[in-house]
Amino acid sequence: MSGSGERVAIRVNGQLYGVDPDTPLLWLLRDELGLTAAKYGCGDGDCGACTVLAGDVAVFSCQVMAGDLDAPVTTLEAAPAHPDLARIQRAWIRAQVPQCGYCQPGMIMSVCAVLRHGQARTVDEVMALVPNLCRCGTWPAVRQALGALLAEDPDPVSLARAGPAGDE
């Protein structure tokens, strides 16, 4: 526990913040920065409800201490500034994916990372790389959304490289 009040700088959604290095990123996002899209499901790194991006990599924010971050963080709230993230949201809405909604922010971030990485080219390949747990059984709708995304743009990597550009 940091009793010394020592702070470390992290960048979240383009903004710099000074935070306690010994607090998991999840709780900093939720309780300090008011960014509540990333959810607490287990705190064990098992469920993925807390998934955010560190750089282009999906991380379980409950498992990352602020002091160990070495890349800027992107949360779901930043979607308007990230065309690839916003595109996933649009596909998610068209396919009406969420049921209870609790696992969805984390799942969308995981999918974003997989698509940015660019290796998975089919729905099955993407699904194999999404570690998030879902209890409601949204998988069939997720498959539908992924199918539409992959059909729309077989090269999602270029879209991610286009960078933040406001709403499409």
Partner: protein
């Protein structure tokens, strides 16, 4: 069947009469506050039309992904004649008018041995009794069934009041006016007024008789796959679940409870955490049945809890072992039980049979394992009002638990229902409401408390375990002449309805075993042997149906196999003289899956049929793999007849999601309890069907104009035996003990007893 079916004039006016704020969304008696509705027409507790044209619908059921947030407003909007997109949806407060009589009605029907004839005095009496005994709650797949009539009436009454108001103003009879798209107009279009312009005048008019409702052929909203109201917020991450509540000066609490249910705290030493950053206090819950660490921030509370030395006394359940209970249930099934249903003379037929087949089925405790952990936020103000923010399925019970814990009157509780991150029945438990209220009453600041994941698993109210024995008598030619079914298991409703469970009147252990669909079997007996355990039990998606569909549909399959009959052909024969809708869903699913056509090597299909909550589902599962180790579930097809479909995409999502819930449980679901302690502590102890392993899911709707049945639960029961039956065809292994794969934490010594 939606209840109540007949409103007296007084009840009708009580529900739908206009008259301003008196019949508005109930103002809280203590605060005098209503939801923000402003001036206008409050034509019932479900609907408000503001002078600004804003139409507000109050949904009195909890949205947990099952779609009530959309389906219920659709019912109102259809009759109100406004565009669905112009609605605002708010959660209803807690009030008696929002009671849900359907689950109470079904429990009562179960007690008297079945649903009475619709026009009988018994039915009328049960309707009235259920109406008065019922509570505001969400569950038993009852929301749409219950709302189908009253919410359409709410829309129709308001529409007619607006027509009347316009008619009086324009001196044109209301019947010569048209309501459409939020506007009242004369037929020639010369006079027009928006609903908002008429709302105040309409508020002063008393409604006439029960208005006629539109016929289905004129529906513009019901039956359409409209975009769901809650989806955009859930995709943006702005939808508020319990832990997203933020209040000024709010504290965070983390709860630890005895590792053994019924245990208590015996030692606590706060000195080691006294100087922890942000720590506010450590509270012992009443009865010493838990400890709450409260801090400025959640992580600080978690760190302090981790460092806090706690010693627990196990109490009477410290020696409980789930294996021992299963053996006890198996032995209990050697004794005759309470006869639930009987026809013909099964004893004689069994004795005289040329051939007998018997099988035993064992099913474990199951966890709800919702991704959102149990939590609640409470604030006891200086005015003595307790506000509670909670994802709950039982609003009145949660408010009562909170009031009792805070030492105040239930009328002093204002409960705000939130979206639940997964319900599945666990929202009926109210322990968290009492805990939050207790802490709030000690601190007089808003406090949000949560059960960390391990506590959520350990303190679940589990799906009960069960042992069942089925026997069938057959002729030499293989025709079934009789069947006997004995179920040994505890009641899922004991905590909420102890009197029912104690008197043996609780039918939840035989849910789905009653109403045996195979009418062609002339001799049949169903018995239940009650078993008691102090391990907390509760309602889990489809309740007793999850247990009894597995046993029955597996057994029918075993008989088919033993007599060389196709399982679908056998079921068709057995359904003769029974419910034609059952045959229709069976036919549909077999057509859609090409049942009987040759499959690839290693592939096999299994079928199962089950009716629950007013809905019939036939399910075919296709697997691949010659051994359990290489088993893959490739596809699941479900044909569903739920009567009138309100929203087809919600139906598909719920039936498919329910089936996946059942599949996951069948493959992996098991809570093993040793020395009173659940061995499932983390999600890694409780494997769930992953994205990668998820089969293709296809739902086929059998359309009907009959009154709507439920959607949330009926997909779960048939998926389990359909899987087991497919596994048998693929691997030769008959699954009689669930789960198929067993838990990784189970002792290898325990083995897979009952598997052949």
């Amino acid at each position: 069947m939606s209840l109540p079916c007949h409103f007296s004039r007084r009840e009708f006016l009580g529900l739908f009469g206009a008259g301003g704020l008196a019949l508005a969304v109930p103002a809280h008696p203590a605060t005098g506050r209503t939801a923000q509705t402003g001036e206008g027409l409050s034509a019932s507790a479900w609907l408000h039309i503001g002078t600004t044209d804003l139409v507000t619908i109050f949904v009195d059921r909890t949205e947990m992904g099952q779609g009530v947030w959309t389906a219920l407003p659709m019912l109102v909007a259809e009759e109100l004649e406004c565009r669905f997109g112009q609605l605002r949806v708010l959660p209803a407060p807690v009030a008696r008018v929002y009671r849900n009589p359907l689950p109470a009605r079904e429990v009562m029907a179960g007690i008297i041995g079945g649903e009475p004839a619709g026009d009988s005095v018994t039915a009328w009496f049960l309707d009235r009794l259920a109406w008065h005994a019922s509570r505001q709650m969400t569950g038993s797949s009852s929301s749409v069934r219950n709302a189908f009539l009253p919410l359409r009436l709410a829309g129709a009454v308001a529409r007619n009041l607006l027509l009347e108001a316009a008619g009086r103003d324009w001196h044109i009879p209301a019947r010569d006016l048209v309501a459409s798209d939020g506007v009242i107009s004369s037929r020639d279009g010369t006079r027009r007024a928006r609903y908002g312009e008429l709302a105040t005048a309409a508020a002063g008019i008393t409604p006439g008789e029960n208005p006629p409702l539109k016929s289905g052929s004129r529906w513009k909203i019901i039956g359409r796959p409209l975009p769901r109201v809650d989806v955009p917020a859930k995709v943006r991450g702005t939808a508020r679940h319990g832990l997203d509540i933020r209040l000024p000066g709010m504290l965070s609490g983390v709860v630890a409870m005895p590792p053994v249910p019924g245990g208590s705290l015996s030692m606590l030493d706060v000195r080691s955490v006294e100087n922890f950053p942000g720590l506010v206090t450590v509270l012992v819950l009443p009865g010493r049945d838990g400890v709450v660490v409260v801090a400025e921030r959640t992580w600080q509370a978690m760190k302090a809890m981790e460092a806090l030395p706690l010693v627990w006394e196990d109490g009477p359940n410290g020696t409980f072992d789930s294996r021992t209970l299963m053996e006890e249930m198996a032995r209990a099934a050697d004794r005759p039980g309470r006869v639930i249903e009987e026809r013909g003379d099964p004893v004689r037929v069994m004795k005289e049979a040329d051939r007998r087949i018997a099988a035993e089925y064992r099913q474990p405790f199951l966890a709800h394992a919702a991704i959102e952990p149990v939590n609640a936020t409470a604030w006891l103000g200086r005015n003595g009002i307790l506000e509670l923010w909670i994802g709950t399925q039982a609003q009145e019970e949660a408010a009562a638990a909170a009031a009792a814990a805070a030492g105040i009157d239930p009328g002093q509780v204002v409960l705000h229902t939130l979206f639940m991150g997964g319900g599945f029945g666990r929202g009926l438990e109210t322990r968290i409401a009492g805990q939050a209220a207790f802490v709030a009453s000690r601190l007089h600041r808003p406090v949000r408390i949560l059960w960390p994941r391990e506590q959520d698993f350990a303190n679940d109210a589990f799906r009960p375990p069960q042992f069942a024995r089925l026997e069938a008598s057959l002729t030499a030619a293989g025709r079934i002449t009789g069947m006997a079914w004995r179920i040994a298991g505890p009641s899922a409703r004991r905590r909420r309805f102890p009197l029912l469970a104690m008197t043996g009147l609780d039918r939840s252990p035989v849910d789905g075993a009653t109403g045996f669909p195979y009418a062609a079997i002339d001799h049949f007996r169903l018995e239940h042997v009650g078993v008691t355990t102090d391990i907390p039990l509760g309602s889990w998606r489809s309740i007793g149906h999850s247990l009894n569909a597995f046993a029955r549909e597996s057994f029918i399959d075993e008989i088919a196999w033993a007599t060389g009959q196709d399982p679908v052909t056998l079921r068709r024969e057995l359904l003769r003289g029974g419910e034609p809708r059952a045959l229709a869903v069976l036919d549909r699913v077999t057509t859609e899956t090409g049942w009987g056509r040759p499959l690839d090597a290693g592939q096999a299909q299994g079928v199962a049929l089950h009716a629950s909550f007013g809905t019939l589902v036939a399910c075919v599962v296709r697997v691949r793999g010659r051994t359990l180790a290489e088993l893959a579930v490739e596809q699941i097809d479900l044909a569903v007849d739920c009567g009138q479909v309100i929203h087809p995409d919600i139906l598909v999502a719920q039936i498919g999601g329910g089936a996946l819930f059942g599949l996951t449980a069948a493959l992996y679901g098991e809570v093993v309890i040793r020395n009173g302690r659940s061995l499932v502590r983390r999600f890694r102890d409780c494997p769930l069907l992953s994205a990668r392993d998820c089969p293709e899911v296809r739902v086929h709707i059998v359309h009907s104009n009959l009154p709507p049945g439920g959607a949330g639960e009926p997909g779960t029961p048939p998926a389990i035996p359909a899987l087991a039956n497919a596994i048998h065809r693929a691997t030769g292994q008959r699954i009689r003990t669930l789960p198929v794969h067993g838990s990784t934490v189970r002792d290898s010594a325990a083995g897979q007893s009952g598997q052949e």
